[in-house]
């Protein structure tokens, strides 16, 4: 790996920013390393990855495929443990499992529950009374314009509707952080645009901290306050870019924006570099 790639990862941000409430760090990845061991040797998926996420921020992460993005998320949501290093939420040494809302790439609504019952699922787990659950779920479904479909089963809904359901299910229990793993990947272009704008609306309302993984640069820049670029495997932070495009943004009109275009080419170049590293690495 070239030295310049590592240098540009200027992550050591002074702690003074913590004094402003909206710039409080909510989540810290400290030297997170993950090595998978098997009979055929070991594979390092993440290598001393460090990153700080501020409260209320929309952080997007891009990287070449196979760079350990999913591993990173799995560790964050508690499905896997890091081999070394730690992730701290609110300064605590570990992330409490129930603090994270998780939206996966595939639509994962439970097919045996109606849309409303799906949104209520995490509330049910927390023992929220039925009437209150109903209020909360209907309020959220209204926000994503699905109130008329509350009592439908997932098989009766379109892919875009299901993914909207997934998003509000992850929000319904007011998690500290919303984690999204390429949530719009399988959708068609039109639906994706619709959902991207809807997500921005939701975020503007709730100001939830969002960590959003994608392989679509347009999406990464258009949605994020900052874009994190990961290196090829083993994954670590290559660079972090602040996106200074004013909000509210509409993703369809970004192409006219000069800073969008320069970011797109810079991040695109960096990513191409990493993909080259990866393909030169091993087939």
């Amino acid at each position: 790996m070239t030295g310049s790639a590592i240098k540009s990862a200027s992550l050591v941000r002074p702690f003074i920013v913590a004094e402003q409430p909206e710039h409080r760090p909510i989540l810290q990845f400290r030297d997170v390393t993950k090595t998978y061991r098997s009979d055929r040797g070991s594979v390092k998926a993440l290598d001393r990855l460090s990153l700080e996420v501020t409260e209320g921020e929309f952080l997007t992460i891009v990287g070449p495929s196979g760079c350990g993005k999913s591993t990173l998320l799995n560790i964050l949501v508690g499905l896997e443990l890091p081999s070394d290093g730690e992730i701290a939420l609110d300064g605590a040494r570990a992330v409490e499992r129930k603090a994270v809302g998780y939206v996966m790439q595939n639509d994962n609504l439970y097919p045996w529950r109606t849309l409303r019952e799906n949104v209520e699922f995490p509330l049910e787990l927390r023992g929220v009374p039925a009437a209150e659950r109903r209020d909360i779920s209907l309020r959220y479904l209204e926000k994503v314009r699905l109130q008329d479909f509350a009592d439908r089963y997932p098989y009766e809904l379109s892919g875009g509707m299901r993914q909207r359901g997934n998003i509000v299910r992850a929000l319904s229990f007011s998690p500290r952080i919303l984690v999204m793993d390429e949530p719009f990947g399988p959708l068609d272009a039109q639906t994706r645009l619709l959902l991207q704008n809807l997500l921005l609306e939701l975020w503007a309302e709730e100001r939830k901290t969002i960590i959003f993984i994608t392989h679509d640069l347009h999406e990464a820049i258009g949605l994020g306050d900052r874009v994190v670029v990961l290196t090829a495997r083993p994954g670590r932070v290559k660079s972090v870019h602040s996106v200074d495009i004013p909000r509210p943004r509409h993703l369809r009109h970004l192409h006219e924006n000069a800073s969008y275009r320069s970011l797109l080419s810079r991040i695109g170049d960096e990513l191409a570099e990493e993909i080259q590293v990866q393909s030169g690495d091993k087939p």
Binding site: R97, K98, Y110, P111, T114, E124, L125, F173
Partner: protein, 277 residues
Amino acid sequence: MSVETMDAEARTESRPLLSYRGRVALTRLLLVAVIFGVWELASGRLFSAFWVSKPSLIAIYIWKWIVAGDFFYQMSFTFGSMLAGFAAGTLLGLAAGVVLSRTQFAADVLDPFLIAINGIPRVALAPLFVVWFGIDMLPKIVLVFTLVFFVIFYNTYAGIKSVERRFTDLAFVMGANERDLFAKVILPAAMPHIFLGIKLSIPYALIGAIIGEFVASSAGLGWKIQMETSLYNTTGTMAGLIVMMLIVVAMNSLLAVVERRLLRWQPASRYGAAQNQ
């Protein structure tokens, strides 16, 4: 099946007089009428009624059988042992499926034993059960149990094993404890498999009860059929067979209603297909 379903949808759009379901039911009735009609007309003309009897004779026989009161006695005997064995087999099969699907070690250890036991032809077991449990209902109940148990067990086991990882992972991330995970995710996800097992085991339950009665019995439909056959009374034999068919059909329709409520979340074409298999 999928061709049939597409066909069904295409035709619903042109709004025929009867719904698809209605036409299926009507065609079935017609088919029954044709079979019984041909049977009635051919019997005594193309072949002797002695061998296969005649629908009219069978109907009269069943009517007399019912009026005499003996029908209900035989039915309750067979149906009773069938239901008791079915209930016990379902409950224990479910429990075993749940337990073994959650403890891989026990499942691996027991696997060859279960295969071996399930491999025993039940006809071979029936006489032994007579020696152990006599000729009343108990040996039949046990026989039914040995058949139903394995069907339910294997389906429950496979159903729980096939629950997709993403469903359980997500529940875990959302904060589910072990109990929630099982009751709210694993069990409902496995329900289609379990239900299929329950449906498949109904004919087995009847087979078990009848075999038990064939080997040695004091009463029951199987006993009745065997007795009539030994007297060369084919009308009586056929009457018994038809009653058995009706039992299976009735139980299946009852289950279909339960299934439609329980598995409402599946697309209609799927339970339609399962029902008609």
